[in-house]
Amino acid sequence: MSEAERLERLLHDALVPLEPPGVLTERLERTLTELTASAVDELAEFDPSALRDPRRWARLAAAGVVAGTAGGALILVRARQKHRRSEAHGLRALQNGLREVSGDMRRRLGR
């Protein structure tokens, strides 16, 4: 084995891929879930009259973006939580809540 090959083998041995710890995946899931919850709260406080006030458009749009982002992120959460049925139940409830809020907003906006 040449010196170059030997050094490359040592580099492979030294820089091994690392499995992320369970605490990280749990924290990531929790962050996404909290993001979802805060977006749902924001939308739940929605007042149709706010649409007449341009100063609130940015806030409402931001809430919608966050809700959309977090709703999608739930796919990740669900993929990681197949074995955690109780929490998965909570996520389904959150997702249903998002869907209801979204449907309610569409009805109020006449779309």
Binding site: L11, A14, L15, P17, P20, L24
Partner: protein, 177 residues
Amino acid sequence: MDKPQLDREFSDLYRAHLRDVYSYSYYRIGNHHDAEDLTEQTFLQAYRHFARARAESNGRPLRPWLIRIAHNLAANYHRDRSRKPQTNLEDAAILSEPHGTEQIVEEREEVQAVLRGVAGLPDDRREALIMRFALGMDNREIARSLDRSEGATKVLIHRAIKQLEQRLEDEGGGGDE
């Protein structure tokens, strides 16, 4: 593309590369705690920009884009803290193949010397070696992550290995037979 499909693709990207992002973060930062934070921030930021990145990728793999996010966040981390990566990386090395006890000790010492050597390289050379050996990226992927040409990347890796070889020799035979 509709949003559910986009979300499924992001989910696939997440599952496929969580280990890559965590490994890269750890070897850049040098401690598990901050590597976890960096990994979390990387995926949250990636999700926010995923639709645009996918549209602009023209079907190319998105791992380099993901690692580039981690790279930028790691750069911010070091800039904010005004410190170089920590060098206590020895616990990361796991010798997976069975060996005799003496050989394990000898190889662990060599591996630790290599880790110290990598940690002491200039930033761009260290990053290129992490991408090549910890993540198994080819020159094209590394070039995209570092926003360089493939030719420049090949030279970068070559020089990184040469410099590492020299450091190990200077240290006292880390690469000797």
